[in-house]
Symmetry: D2
């Protein structure tokens, strides 16, 4: 792709592929659940060619050995990342991508990082929330928080930027922010409790005692009490949207975010309990949310509380908002599939925007229910 060749000399003209051209991509960290979702989606993406899958210590191993459901793709996993790609998707533990991205991005390869290393603007957030000092803090301002519904213009601008780094959002922040964005932009969030419920796939694929079927099934528990890492993203973006009062007011220095693990594999639901800054009725809420989402391809506002099953396996989001006349509060609920819109699907959506493709390309699959 000539555009990319130029990009590699840091004189990118345009990442948009020529007619009939496929964008060459690699996936680093292909053995986890996010990695397998990237393969599932990108293997069927009409404008993409998967050039390489990589994971530490693998050598020409059939993808089906790790992900039996993907055996028919015929792909293999190798230790070395492909070097001749237009875009790299990184699904790595936190702190890992930050070390390898600078060189790769400087060479013109577009980076879609699904870890947290390029999500936060404030370098101080890394030692605070993730326990490491960011090695290239100067890149954080360049990187774009890859939530297209909030940062579409910035993602589009990457199409012709010399360096393109996308920090793809976490699953909880995506759910929470899409549920709250219209309220946040309107300055209506006065006090905020976010109570979230997630399936176990968000915890990854490594065997852990408390992720065994016998422990998870027929049980629910809260975790991350006192501050889940995703709070950093939620607060950053809420403040950016205009809800800084909710984030920083003296009595409530920080969002009250509590996640729960529930006995299912996929899906997140965030229930956002908002005390609005002023009285607001249902009609005004409906108008706010319609304005925000009517043109969005993946967000649907629904009048009854949605179930996660309504979006399983798809990049779709359902958002519900209601005013409660009894309590004066506003309830905003978002649901999505944590591995698709909460991870791999959203990464592909941002990738599509950066490369000038139709935003839904490769993501048209309808939800799978029941």
């Amino acid at each position: 792709m000539s555009a990319t060749v130029d990009a590699k000399t840091a004189v990118a003209t345009d990442r948009r592929p020529g007619t009939g051209q496929r964008i060459r991509v690699g996936i680093v960290g292909a053995t986890g659940y996010v990695g397998s979702e990237l393969v599932r989606i990108l293997a069927r993406h009409p404008d993409v060619e998967i050039v390489g899958l990589t994971a530490r210590g693998r050598s020409d191993e059939a993808v089906g050995a790790t992900h039996p459901h993907l055996a028919t793709t015929g792909l293999t996993i190798d230790a070395a990342a492909p070097d001749d790609v237009d875009a790299l998707f990184l699904a790595l533990p936190h702190g890992t991508a930050a070390g390898i991205v600078p060189d790769i991005a400087a060479a013109g390869t577009t980076i879609i990082d699904l870890g947290p290393d390029f999500r936060l603007r404030n370098p101080a957030d890394y030692p605070r929330w993730y326990g490491f000092d960011h090695p290239v803090p100067e890149l954080l301002d360049d990187a774009v928080y890859g939530l297209p519904e909030l940062h579409r213009a910035e993602l589009e601008a990457l199409r012709t930027a010399p360096r393109a780094i996308v920090g793809s959002p976490g699953c909880y922040p995506t759910t929470t922010l899409l549920a709250l964005a219209p309220l946040a932009r309107a300055g209506l969030i006065g006090d905020l409790v976010v109570d979230a419920k997630s399936g176990v796939s968000g915890a990854g694929r490594d065997p852990k005692p408390d992720m065994m079927f016998g422990e998870v099934n027929e049980s629910v528990r809260a975790y991350g009490v006192g501050g889940h890492r995703h709070v950093a993203e939620i607060e950053q973006e809420l403040a950016w949207l205009g809800a800084s009062a909710a984030v920083d007011n003296p009595g409530a220095a920080g969002v009250d975010f509590l996640p729960h693990l529930i006995p299912m594999t996929r899906g997140i639901l965030a229930a956002c309990h908002v005390r609005p800054t002023r009285p607001i009725d249902q009609a005004e809420l409906d108008a706010l949310y319609a304005d925000a989402y009517d043109a969005e391809p993946f967000v649907t506002v629904v009048s009854t509380p949605p179930a996660t099953k309504h979006v399983t396996g798809s990049n779709h989001v359902r958002v519900h908002v209601s005013a409660d006349p009894r309590t004066g509060r506003v309830l905003a609920i978002g649901v999505l599939d944590n591995l698709v819109k909460g991870a791999a699907g959203q990464a592909v959506q941002a990738f599509n925007v950066v490369f000038g493709l139709p935003e839904a390309s490769g993501l048209e699959q309808l939800p799978l229910a029941p």
Copy 2:
């Protein structure tokens, strides 16, 4: 039992059974999940004899036909309620018990009603939350809200009262109130969001489209948005405990309570997000909760967030409380088995108190995990 004979002439001396005597009980509404739990517990209760199980339209039908797991009890279900019993457990749709209780209670039979008909003190709550006018509002003051941890003395007083009616609490209120009682009594609840998660057995056994396995499994959704009926009990008891500010303050006229249905059969978790009326640290919280629960046979305070699986099949409750220095909030979590401590077990616990038995009699079973 001579005591009961006296009771039937409204001159009760004492409901406590004589040595070697078994209390004769009946269960009305034996075909639902709560009914089967009553059978399961009472059939093994050392001080009880089950005299009759009743359900509309059944005639001498083996209990195993409806509840195969109870087949070995050899009990049968009939249409007519036994008339010679010391106590009746009622597991009936709301509005039904209110019509039959007055006569039965007047005849001296102790009533343990597991529906809502005798839980609420204010007659106006019935049309508001349940859509019917209470037929005997004069009995509401006599009835005792059967949460022994909060109303033990009143339950004990029923032992020698001429008329004994217990309104056994709902599953969500039990969980929420036990999580919050120490804070409420100390006047510390300034603002309150209760976000609860329940297994499906709380919805009963009648076939409903959205309770089918295919709909519930791999999904979570909120329901009761805008006011679940259990709010009435929660607000009544919180106000009684001393948290009226949280319930009635101008900006927050009512508790923000949101339940969710999650893909499991048994268990409730209530996450109570509290903005305290004054700053409070962990040490003070620990002391408050230790004071409240150290002597309670069924409530254990735990330092890590509990899972519902820790109490499945038992009358146990686990409560966790933590101060969040970042947000200034307090998080209180309660978990229990909705069919045991949230229904049948709690009813038996209150029954034990009313009859002067050891409070844990018949309820010693340890939780079943995994």
Copy 3:
């Protein structure tokens, strides 16, 4: 489509669509799980236009009211079947399609019937297994059993036939037959036990007490003891393939088929325990199965026992076969998604063959795991 116009006068030349033409289809019985799967697949089928969805008593009702996950399709459900379609997919209770198909098929509309009414060749099987006399037994010889892996040539012949009726196979027969076909064709099945396990979606969407989450979860049970209806199809096709000995031998007059309901929503596994008619080793088995399936787009032979999760949401099948030197038996296992390859996906696959489309058109979606 000119071909179809000709077909309607019973002078079909060719059902294959012209370049750029979309085949107009209707779905009758759109409110069940099979109906929703047909919508999910056909709405994304590149060569199809869904002209109408119908269900009794519905009138211009958004599909999302019944199937929230399909809300974004914008389709509506009506009572009347569309009359100007090239093909009708029928997802109806047994005995219903038989009454309406003759006229529709005579008018040239291709019928893909997902019920049993056109699966069985022997009219006597209908009163025996389904309790009704087939009203148009003369059509049974024309109808094609729509398992493309076994009857591809007959399906292809329908492309230019004046009348095209496909009896799309049941979920258990599909799984069993694909697991056994190579052995059956080779005359190797001497004695046969088929022990199958299915998720609950195969039982449909109507609320039934024993399909409630609380009953299904954490439980497994056999059902259909003494003869599940799908035995009829299994025996018919095994005999046709060449395993009549297994079906009709004096000591074993009929296949021993036992299904189980297990606590999951989608997926079927059939474990076929075969005593072969002569000793056979693994190498010969491998060769037999490779011959049968290497060119099949949807069937993959695997060397380790497959899990249903490997094919969820896709039209894929995994087949495993192994010789057991200890017992002298052969074990053949098949897994598939009962709503896709076991119902809607297979119907679309057969439809593709009948209309001369690429067989995998609209069915390329990869399995969804975890």
Copy 4:
């Protein structure tokens, strides 16, 4: 207990406890699922005192740290086994108990071994099925296979034996043997396929990748193809019962046993497909099974296929048997809770028999459903 003191000098008179005496027991291997079930049951056993729980590397650790549901027992786990106990329950990996049992048993302590080390009579079975040479083959004849329904007299004889070693059966063999014993004793099993389904708790508590919730949920798969270890027990006992033809006949040298892992935590169902040695009708089957089980406290014969949920959390077994006139076969189904009657409960049942206690002592708990 004087009896035990005598036993320690190998001159046991009687293990039956004196009035008011509690039998002192220890549990070795207390951190797994079987260990926790032993605690759950024995902590409530009226005739038992738990003297010690042990696990490698633990020192005075509260049992609740490993098994939160047992926190209220107040027990602790230590590394060293208690030396002054009447009975030791061993829940250890195969090959471990064989090394420590000889000394302990010689000292008069009754051994209830829940692993396989003392289940098999033939020393050659250990290298064949478990990969180790049994270090004390001479003890195998003394040890009793602890299935009270089959070996009650031998267990009773241990009450006064100088050395008492019980090899407590595996979960699959218990289910299979109880389903088949009446047929086996009557010499009616001509050909046999056992197709079993189990929840995951049978695989233990160690974290394994394929036991993670995300892998198990919504999936079913066969495993142990070609010979699960439990075949050894099944064949041994079937031969002992009189079904040696099924086990050893030339055409079928060995039982065809296939287990499956299904998405639930507890429960086993074994479907036993029998071709009888002669025609048999339902009435004769009913009589055979009634004779065998009418007096058994834990086995109930049921006329409809049972679900595992009917016995969860209890020591109960449900057995169903039916003749299939169509195929001439007999289907026998057994269900039980793999951790109770399939492990800890059965061990306690055998222990009760050995110590002359009521056989159901400590095991009266009814099943927990839904």
